[in-house]
């Protein structure tokens, strides 16, 4: 390279600058090439394959040839229909029939979805959920009810864990940002869960959450002097996902605490001194000095938590395997279940493609919301 440079320099000045730039960009590409090759090999090409597979009936292992099946996978994945059910009425009186608990009874959904030629549009659909408005029951049917529940759960998880993990991380960072003795001990303690494997954490926490003699139930019983009735945290559809949210936040909060801490330490101390002179109180200092100074850190923290939240898998796989009653199943868990365990690569790929579009749109929205606003 040096030789070419010297030869070029003997010619004319502008040309040499151009070639300089060219060789500079070549060096740039060379340096980036390991990363590009890895991204290409492990991200871009596999995604490309997933996209193609999602339009086929590809199996993980099978002697049958692969066939293109068009949008069949996506149809099964994304179909949602509404079925309107009226209460069963007594034929003689025309009054609705009530069950033992005094509620209306409705015809079974299977009468519409299984071999009923009058309702071809509902054929093979599954019950997802329903709403009662007055006497009428609006039943939501889906081609893959479990996937729909996975979508809802994934968003539910993300919406709750982003403020929880980000917020607690910030509070911890503020606490350990003090220059007092022994603060490093606290830093270490808060950071410890991050270095423990998620699988190990999940197993330990499933003992803590045990419905019979778990640590959490025992503690709550002691604190309330025995007035607390043990809750089967992971066995109850209404507490399972919140329990996993709390555990995940506990495990991940140390990492984001460190990020927040790094951000805090970039804020110049003179700004605080100036604020002191202006007579600002602690809250005002946080609001007008600390928080604006953490802007970029905050964006980074929220984007990383969001991405992690959408990829929720390990905890689910170890602790609940999607149960009870699909209350903790997630999109990635379904992709793995379908694509790998049930060997239906095509369907798993379709889930991945939907997941990709979902994450991409969330990322774009976040990017738009956190853009640098022109003043």
């Amino acid at each position: 390279m040096t030789t070419t440079e010297t030869t070029i320099q003997t010619q004319s000045e502008p040309l040499s600058r151009l070639n300089d730039r060219q060789s500079e960009s070549l060096t740039g590409w060379l340096m980036a090439s390991p990363a590009i090759l890895l991204l290409l090999g492990f991200l871009i090409i596999p995604f490309f394959f997933a996209f193609i597979y999602s339009f086929t009936n590809q199996r993980l292992i099978s002697p049958n040839p692969t066939e293109f099946v068009g949008l069949t996978n996506f149809k099964r994945l994304l179909t949602v229909r509404v079925l309107r059910l009226e209460p069963v009425t007594d034929e003689a009186s025309g009054q609705p029939v009530l069950n033992d608990e005094g509620n209306y009874t409705y015809p079974r959904v299977r009468e519409y979805t299984r071999n009923n030629p009058d309702y071809p549009q509902y054929d093979g659909l599954q019950e997802w959920t329903y709403f009662d408005i007055g006497q009428t029951r609006w039943m939501l049917l889906a081609g893959d009810a479990v996937f729909m529940k996975s979508l809802v759960n994934t968003f539910y998880f993300a919406i709750f864990i982003i403020p929880l993990q980000g917020g607690v991380g910030l509070v911890l960072a503020l606490l350990i940002n003090e220059r007092t003795r022994g603060v490093n001990i606290f830093r270490t303690i808060y950071f410890m869960p991050v270095v423990v494997s998620m699988v190990v954490v999940s197993i330990l926490w499933s003992f803590i959450y045990d419905g019979q003699n778990g640590l959490l139930n025992n503690m709550l019983e002691v604190v309330t002097f025995g007035h607390f009735n043990p809750v089967d945290w992971l066995g109850n559809p209404s507490t399972a996902l919140p329990a996993i949210i709390v555990m995940s936040a506990w495990q991940g909060v140390g990492f984001h605490m460190i990020i927040w801490l790094a951000g805090l330490q970039t804020i110049s101390y003179s700004l605080y001194e100036a604020a002191d002179i202006d007579g600002a109180n602690t809250w005002q200092k946080f609001l007008y000095v600390t928080w604006p100074g953490l802007r970029n850190t905050a964006i980074f923290v929220f984007v990383t938590i969001t991405m992690q939240a959408f990829g929720l898998f390990t905890q689910i796989d170890v602790m609940t395997r999607g149960g009870p009653l699909d209350s903790t199943t997630t999109v990635i868990f379904q992709a793995v279940q379908q694509g790998f365990e049930k060997q239906n690569i095509a369907y798993g790929s379709a889930i991945s493609v939907v997941f990709f579009i979902m994450v991409l749109s969330v990322a774009l929205i976040q990017r738009y919301l956190t853009r640098e606003k022109a003043v």
Partner: protein, 489 residues
Amino acid sequence: MKNQRRLWLVAALLVTTLIVLAACGGQSTPPPAAPAEEEAPAEAAAPAEESVAEESADDAVTEAPGAEEAAESAVEAEEEQAEDAVASSGDAIPLSMWYHGAGNDEERVVITQIIDDFNASQDQYVVEMQDFPQNSYNESIVAGALAGNLPDIIDMDGPIMPNWAWSGYLAPLDLPEGTLDGYLPGAIGRWDDQVYSVGLWDAAVAMFARRSVLEENDIRIPTLEEPWTKDEFDAALETLQATGEFEYAFDPGMAWTGEWYPYAFSPFLQSFGGDIIDRETYLSAEGVLNGPEAVEFGEWWQSLFERGLAPGTSQDSADRDTGFIDGRYALQWNGNWAAVPALEAYGDDMLFLPAPDFGNGPTIGAASWQFGVSADSEHQEGANDFVVFALQPKYSAAFSDVLGLAPTTVEAAAMTENYAPGGPLEVFYELSKQQALIRPPTPAYLSAALVFEKALADIANGADVVTSLDAAVDEINADIDANNGYGFQ
């Protein structure tokens, strides 16, 4: 100053990481071994090793007390063996073999013994084993197959075999006439009228109970000829729960997710008169998994949890392992691999009872791990020779002594500690022989088993029985259709 502080922080983190990792290494219990397998109790190891050594007197492995030493010496012996083989016959063909039992030292001793004996018995082939943890074994095989890199000798779980045979991974076995005479049917893997795999043992499931508990509560002790009926079993559970002495009257083992569900619970469904797949055609689950018998089963199954008679899906694996032995569960549905610790805890009081008869005859699952030959192998003959060699009764007996599993023939049973006539686990051999029904031998089973597992978990958690079973049928049928019937037309 700042740099120093940072350095200190990093050092502190490193140290804590190490401490945490070390602590976790000691404390963390791995998830329970999947049901068709077995964590052999350490105590069972010593006698087992003795019997192995006795039975193969021609071998050089020195008898060592204690499992670890034995394992070490076995490893050393294996290395020596390999060196010997290379030295004596430079042109011996290596045969690769994958095994699912990584982490189980006692099991390794037996399998290493078989390999050493085989290598010493002829000089054409040298078998080299690689072992995998059971939890990721099937994935390893599938990945190996996709990469065109399967071993010559494959070990596999019985019900998965048809899927792999259909996929073309396996070559049918060529067994000398009469090899399988008197064999437990569950240990033979047949697909498409050919034998693709044979096991050295079979697993069996029984109702673990204590004589004293049943007698105190005036509950009849069932026999193979006259098992509990559904009403009798239900009444027994209610009675036991009402005593207040137990957290739960019955522990079906909901903590053991995975293959345990279809292995242990589909026999209940079959005893009600249903099944996972229609065994007439193997093309549909309609009517068998959601017919009136299956719905009746589902409602009974749900009632077990509604009435608080059994711990639900959130049961943790520690409770599963110790609940019966600690006396917190009155009855436990468990496999013969767990029988030895139970016997140690309760001695003569311990009972292994046959499955209840829910109307269509009592049934338990069959088929455990088995050996087969890869279709891609360049030395199928050698691999086949090894499988035939391994099927000797003395090896079946050795595995039985180590793992507590049922040996495959009467001859092998006579050589074992526990299954010999009058032995404490003899009853399992009879259970296997009389009640065992293999899981549906079809490639569709792989996916259907997962669907069945989910349906049973949902029903236990209070989902509508009919809806859950219908959804399961739809998914199984969709999978069969997507695979063009898996070769059944």
